[in-house]
Homo-oligomer: 238 residues x 2
């Protein structure tokens, strides 16, 4: 099957969600790792729970709510100024080191982001990080009022990009997104940087627990078509 479009997950795939750690640690010295990991874990959890509950709120709300939860866990008062400072980090995430070059190498194909992020968050992010000119489309789940991996979310993509799922390479580092996209009918590439997290130590701390929960192969009855070490390998799938 010819691949006519490459569609990228944003958070964790084109962008490093761990890059918020520096700002969190500066604001909450000694508790940066704990807050960063609980924040991301609960952020994803709230997307799934709100989808299950049929009680959608956009990713800006979910990102703020999960941050407040993480601050509570760490015993930090979620003061308005602190929350505002930290949630801003999601508009300035560091792109994966190979993101620009990899997108450039795919020029001539349709290149798009498909993300849980709200329209406003994604627009700011691609502008702030110089990826805007390397993408033909930036598509949010917003208008479906559900988050990934709901099929109602993935169904938004084809009408926007004009390429059917079986001619689209869906690229994600997130195992749940890989499973959802594959089940929906996309060609799927799982980006597993560094070959995966390896075995967790018995006394796994917050960052190890994040990796343990998020970076191993999921038992979800839908396998990716390709497993890549980085976005650089996408040129071989054109």
């Amino acid at each position: 099957m010819t691949i006519r479009a490459f569609v990228f997950d944003a958070y964790g795939t084109l962008y490093d969600v761990q890059s918020v750690l520096e700002r969190v640690e500066r604001a909450c010295p000694g508790r940066g790792a704990l807050i960063t990991q609980i924040w991301r874990l609960k952020q994803l959890e709230y997307t799934w729970l709100r989808t299950c509950m049929e009680d959608f709120a956009n990713f800006a709300v979910v990102t703020r709510d999960s941050l407040v939860y993480a601050l509570h866990v760490a015993g930090v008062e979620p003061a308005e100024a602190l929350v505002t400072e930290l949630e801003d980090a999601y508009l300035h995430l560091t792109p994966a080191p190979e993101a620009h070059d990899s997108l450039r190498a795919l020029e001539g194909h349709t290149r798009a982001i498909f993300s849980n992020g709200s329209v406003a968050m994604l627009d700011a992010l691609v502008l702030n990080t110089g990826l805007k000119g390397l993408l033909e489309h930036v598509v949010s789940v917003d208008s479906a009022k559900v988050f990934k991996p709901s099929p109602k979310a993935y169904a938004l993509l084809e009408p926007v990009i004009g390429v059917p799922p079986n001619e689209t390479m869906f690229v994600s580092s997130n195992g749940f997104d890989v499973a959802g996209a594959k089940r929906f009918g996309f060609q799927v590439a799982w980006v597993r940087r560094g070959g995966g997290p390896g075995t967790a130590p018995a006394d796994a701390g917050p960052t190890d627990m994040f990796k343990a929960q998020r970076l191993h192969a999921e038992m979800l009855n839908a396998k990716p078509d390709h497993v890549l070490g980085s976005l650089t390998e996408l040129v071989d799938l054109r």
Copy 2:
């Protein structure tokens, strides 16, 4: 409003899911806590993801899949004999110490379990632990083909127990279940044993990370009507 029925979540509320730790530690020395916590965290995650993906498999499948995931994380080969030995622990969970007495004290009201568990798992569990005779109904999400907190799951309850949600006290230790049940229209009591987990240490290990992710108040736009320290306090809500 008169309360005519008390409906209990099973895993974490009437039963201690942490009671599997002893068997896991015996089978996998030194890695019991890591495996136990990842197992439970992924077990819940898979219920939410399968609900979002519209790809239901019952709780026995989800329990086995999440156990295999947890064993992979810990570097333990998921041999058939080991998996079978450990998943059996879910049929012999230790009831909360106050469970029997608290159910007995509510005699005269309709008492029911409403759980993500499969029909077969729940039937075995209440029989093995002596709770069977203290419950008028044991209701599984199975026939809705979704898990909690989907409203399609909670909707199964009234036709079985014959009591409408606003006359039913829904009792759960699980924050997501509290939010889902409240949003559906139940009276809700959140059982927060020991007053909650307290602040997590900066170097939180597997068990602290489990508590950090699961036992704090959820930011999900639906608050319980009552917060209890144990099931013993339910008699005051009759």
